[in-house]
């Protein structure tokens, strides 16, 4: 789960990472109501998950009540804006960068820091960035961070504040089950005060069970999107729609799903929806998978490629048929390739409902069968 800046900064405060004073304005009405009480000049920052806010005019300096109202209207007119964070203007003396992220290659968390923060941090030469393996980071004491910063020339009050912020950021990473945390820029203000001007935090959805407070955040559920995406999320399905495609792929497992999409593509079809049903799927979720795939814009036919491993062929077949019954006589063409646990029962249910079943054939054969069914339909 990626967090809005505003939620990220709330967590920063909890861990003693200083951030500018700010007020969250959720609607254009809030701007009208609160604008008189703000102190100017201040910064209006659109709260949204996508990046590139600066370039899109979604971060604006406002100097008066009138400007605030105008900026508020402009920002709320944009799509996917979840609010405005109105923050005090911090004079930027120097920009640093700090992050903790998972290094997949080493399979350990890595600490990253550079004294050259700001917009172009991604294009910095590798040697300008300190990278420290951080697997044991939860146990790092203050001096470890000091010794990381000293070679970079940080001294005095700035050194001590920055080391404390890094230690707190490390604690946050472990205690909050974060997948990545990033402060860019970490700013040194005119009065030699170090503060996080931005907050990019991604939390591990898998750890939601031990962080009930996450549900209270504005960011919770934002990634689920709207419409079919949200319905898929509710049914615990992983769903991606691909504009311009016409074949819906439903698979158990990401690898098989992608391989099935690849097969559609290699046979000249265009994948338009991808659903991974995951493990231990229930009949109702399977029915939802079929419905969501067929209701995706542009979908003309479905290829269902599922195994009975951690799933059960009988339950999946029942789910498919449940949605077919909802469709009535105008069924979307579909081919089901399924084998594994309880395959005989699953096949019987599908065949009893006139569903073409690929039992021993390959994925390629299943794709060819579906594409020929679609061609026939086009011919008629």
């Amino acid at each position: 789960m990626r967090l809005l800046e505003f939620d990220g900064k709330k967590i920063f405060r909890k861990y003693g990472i200083p951030v500018p004073e700010g007020k969250f304005l959720e609607t254009a009405g809030d701007v009208e109501k609160e604008a008189a009480a703000l102190s100017y000049p201040c910064i209006f920052k659109a709260q949204m998950l996508s990046g590139g806010r600066g370039k899109a005019g979604l971060i604006q300096k406002v100097s008066s009540f009138e400007e605030a109202k105008k900026a508020g209207q402009q920002i709320f007119a944009q799509e996917n804006v979840r609010g405005i964070l109105a923050e005090e203007l911090v004079p930027i003396h120097r920009e640093l960068f700090a992050a903790v992220a998972l290094d997949r290659k080493l399979a350990v968390p890595v600490f990253m820091f550079t004294a050259q923060g700001g917009m172009e941090v991604e294009s910095l030469p590798a040697e300008a960035m300190v990278r420290a393996p951080f697997a044991d980071g939860a146990g790092w004491n203050f001096h470890r961070f000091l010794d990381l910063l000293l070679p970079l020339g940080l001294r005095g009050k700035i050194l001590v504040q920055t080391a404390a912020i890094l230690r707190n950021l490390g604690r946050l990473f472990f205690e909050e089950d974060a997948l990545s945390v990033e402060i860019n820029p970490l700013t040194v203000s005119g009065e030699e005060k170090v503060l996080a001007l931005d907050a990019k935090v991604t939390l591990d959805d898998g750890a939601l069970f031990r962080h009930p407070a996450w549900r209270e955040m504005k960011s919770f559920g934002l990634e689920a999107g709207e419409g079919l995406e949200r319905e898929a999320k509710n049914a615990r399905l992983s769903y991606v729609s691909i504009p311009g495609g016409s074949v819906g792929v439903i698979a158990g497992g990401a690898g098989l799903g992608m391989a099935t999409m690849d097969a559609v593509f290699l046979q000249g079809g265009k994948p338009g929806a991808f659903i991974d049903i995951g493990g231990g799927v229930a009949e109702e979720s399977m029915a939802e998978a079929v419905r969501i795939a067929r209701q995706t814009e542009g979908i003309k036919g479905l290829l269902i490629n599922v195994f009975g491993g951690i799933n059960n062929c009988r339950i999946m077949a029942r789910g498919i048929v449940r949605d077919l019954k909802r469709q009535g006589t105008r069924r979307v063409p579909l081919v089901v390739k399924t084998r594994g646990h309880f395959q005989e029962e699953g096949w019987a249910i599908l065949e009893g409902n006139q569903v073409p079943v690929v039992k021993f054939g390959t994925t390629e054969e299943a794709v060819k069968l579906l594409l020929s069914l679609l061609d026939e339909r086009k011919g008629n």
Binding site: R104, D177, F209, A259, L266, V306, F307, T363
Partner: protein, 289 residues
């Protein structure tokens, strides 16, 4: 031979009284797996399909010789269960659950490394040495005994490839699902090292996907160490749209990462024979039937 698990491997199942635990105990027994016990705290003294249930791994190990533990508990209980198996020095632990918190996997992985024990998963189908035994949730009848080793990041693609081979009488020595998460225990390289030493394995199929560089690292390692058997690879995700997380797994085409096509080219350059489509693996493996 086969790797990791043999006919006489004795396993326990942690979480044996749950719905998945009980079902896969029955299916494992049917396959001939030596399931010598189950572990569920508070349920000691019961039995599941004739298998005795113990309150703790330690208690099970006092009664029975245990070579491995198959963990079939939900993700919220996964870390505790894995730590229990590892701290009791169970030589091989397999964790099936998906959606295990990454920080938990990191800690489990660390402990397994420190104690020099094998940990496989999470988000895996497990391991099978067809015709001998299995430690996992795969349908045994899709797999057939033979000479091809399989190591895979994707569970259901392993079913797919193995069943394609089995239906054409091309058997497998051992199939290892290493798990689809961004961080897992055993990796491709460790599995390749085991296949290297196994006389029964004549060729290895490596099944990968977009995301990360595990396949590339394994390819470089195989080349540098002169891997003595042919390696065939398939990479899923040629048609995946960039930036989207495809499924529950770690499969995402990240900024700066290799696309499926680039991964395939990289593997080819290391001397690995790469399948353009998953069915190509059938032809590649036919000489090893």
């Amino acid at each position: 031979m086969a790797i990791l698990i043999q006919r006489d491997t004795r396993i326990i199942i942690q979480g044996i009284t749950g719905s998945q635990g009980a079902l896969h105990t029955a299916l494992s027994l049917e396959y001939g797996v030596k399931v010598v016990g189950g572990v569920v705290p508070g349920r000691g003294g019961e039995s599941v399909h004739g298998v005795p249930v113990f309150d703790s791994v330690k208690q099970a190990m006092e009664k029975e010789k245990v070579d491995g533990s198959l963990i079939l508990v939900p993700p919220s209980a996964a870390k505790e269960a894995a730590f229990e198996a590892l701290e009791n020095r169970v030589p091989l632990t397999v964790m099936v659950a998906e959606n295990v918190p990454v920080h938990d996997t990191l800690r489990i992985r660390q402990l397994a490394k420190t104690l020099k024990l094998r940990f496989i998963g999470p988000n895996t189908i497990g391991i099978i040495s067809p015709g001998k035994t299995k430690m996992g949730i795969m349908p045994g009848f899709l797999y057939r005994e033979g000479a091809v080793g399989i190591v895979s990041r994707s569970g259901t693609l392993t079913h797919e490839v193995a069943s394609n081979l089995s239906l054409r009488e091309i058997g497998q020595s051992t199939c290892v699902g290493i798990g689809g998460d961004p961080v897992v225990g055993m990796n491709f390289i460790e599995a390749l090292d085991l296949f290297r030493e196994d006389p029964e394995t004549k060729a290895v199929v490596m099944i990968g996907e977009i995301g990360g560089t595990a396949e590339e690292d394994a390819a470089v390692y195989a080349k540098e160490t002169g891997f003595p058997k042919p390696i065939f690879a398939f990479i899923a995700g040629q048609a995946a749209p960039p930036g989207k997380r495809m499924g529950h797994a770690g499969a995402i085409l990240e900024k700066g990462a290799r696309s499926a096509r680039e991964k395939m080219d990289f593997l080819s350059a290391q001397g690995i024979r790469v399948a353009g489509k998953v069915e190509d693996l059938i032809a590649f493996c036919t000489p090893f039937a």
